[in-house]
Symmetry: C2
Subunit: 213 residues, 2 copies
DNA sequence: TGTACATCAGTGAACGCGCGTTCACTGATGTAC
DNA sequence: TGTACATCAGTGAACGCGCGTTCACTGATGTAC
């Protein structure tokens, strides 16, 4: 996290100038430290150095702010996965592996976004933009799976939607059980990246995408 | 959920008689309806029909109650998985499949327990009994994986700890992304059971446990 | 079998606290002319 | 270029509310003799 200190420090006068943005950073900071439930409008306002009524100029209520955080999280997530996939270079399997690492890296480095996206109880369907952002992030997994599947002769080509859902579930499972800095993390005799990578390899072998050694 | 109505209905007099138990049921009801954050000591007391000071006779604080719910959840979960595994009958693979179904069934039928176990931010390591209960539940997956692996010739036998962790992560991923009645559930073009079952089959084929068709 | 007493499991009133939300307000900013 | 005015983005005080927690207390229960 790279924003600078408490948002109130550089107040330029009566107007904050960037309150909307600052409130979102406050939410990320509070969620990261106290979990998705440990975030209040009042404390976010304090963090930003404004009165407790000020946030209402920018967000209808607490849920609207969280939904916004989740939406931005999905956008960052999409960018992050897209970058890791890198158009399938140098080759599809290596790029796919990078996507897996990026998934876990995001969950670890941005636990607040990850919480808001998957654990805050935000109904993804309640907000169009949010749902679309979530779909675009998933679409990267889908595209990568498509590419991987396309390398297989048609008569034994696996359904790529199913494959992408499996990869998503496995990644999410590893991330939430073992891959976070949180209190809820389970101990593991290996880095989560290795666990996920091994799981993906076994899975791809099961699909006949990787030859058995 | 089978307990009868609001706990306060059958008060027999000054003493509640079964307050500890009733508070736990209250917690389950509240968590199921409002998520792990939407549970308060005060409301649990109201639900049970006692004064707000009464719960302190039975639990140190809110966290102690949640930890107790989580512990009992793991115990039920263990029983549930154990029953599904059924000693590996009629054969290891069929039993393994039943364990997967039981996993998802538990997450769906007991969302409150599942939340308390995996999403309430309870530090599993902070409480010895809780950790042991969690380990016993996982041990069922471990045992099942051992049995499956034991059927493979030693020279290409997969490490069963890894296998059990993969299965756990995949099951948890499917359950938390698609398998709950919650607001956070994602839409899916098939029942979560099918998705998990297909994933497990692909995975087992990747391990060489199931022959490729 | 009865009684005295210890212990247990509740009561209910009180406290300080922080949250969400509203309100009339005011300082700052932008723009039309 | 200056001025009048509309609009925007804040203030700060106030409100009701529910929570967590403590406290001295009391009704109910169990047990020793």
């Amino acid at each position: 996290m790279s924003w600078s200190g408490k948002g109130g420090d550089e107040r330029r006068g009566y107007h904050h100038g960037n309150l909307r943005e600052t409130l979102i950073q406050a939410a990320l900071d509070l969620i990261a430290r106290k979990g998705p439930g440990g975030f209040t409008f009042a404390e976010a306002a304090r963090w930003a150095g404004v009165s407790s009524a000020a946030p209402y100029r920018h967000f209808r209520d607490r849920d609207a702010l969280i939904a916004d955080v989740a939406r931005r999280g999905f956008e960052l997530f999409e960018t992050c996965l897209e970058k890791a996939w890198n158009g399938g270079r140098p080759d599809a399997l290596a790029a796919f592996e990078q996507v897996g690492r990026a998934y876990l890296g995001f969950a670890r480095d941005e636990p607040a976004y990850y919480s808001a996206m998957f654990e805050a109880g935000v109904a993804v369907d309640s907000d169009l933009e949010l749902r679309q952002a979530a779909e675009r992030a998933f679409a990267v997994l889908r595209k990568a799976s498509d590419t991987i599947c396309a390398g297989v002769p048609a008569e034994r080509r696996p359904p790529s939607l199913m494959m992408s859902l499996h990869i998503w579930a496995l990644s999410h499972g590893v991330a939430s059980l073992f891959g976070r800095g949180d209190a809820g993390r389970r101990a593991l005799p290996m880095p989560p990246e290795e666990l996920l990578e091994a799981g993906v390899w076994v899975y791809l072998r099961g699909l006949g995408i990787i030859a058995r050694e």
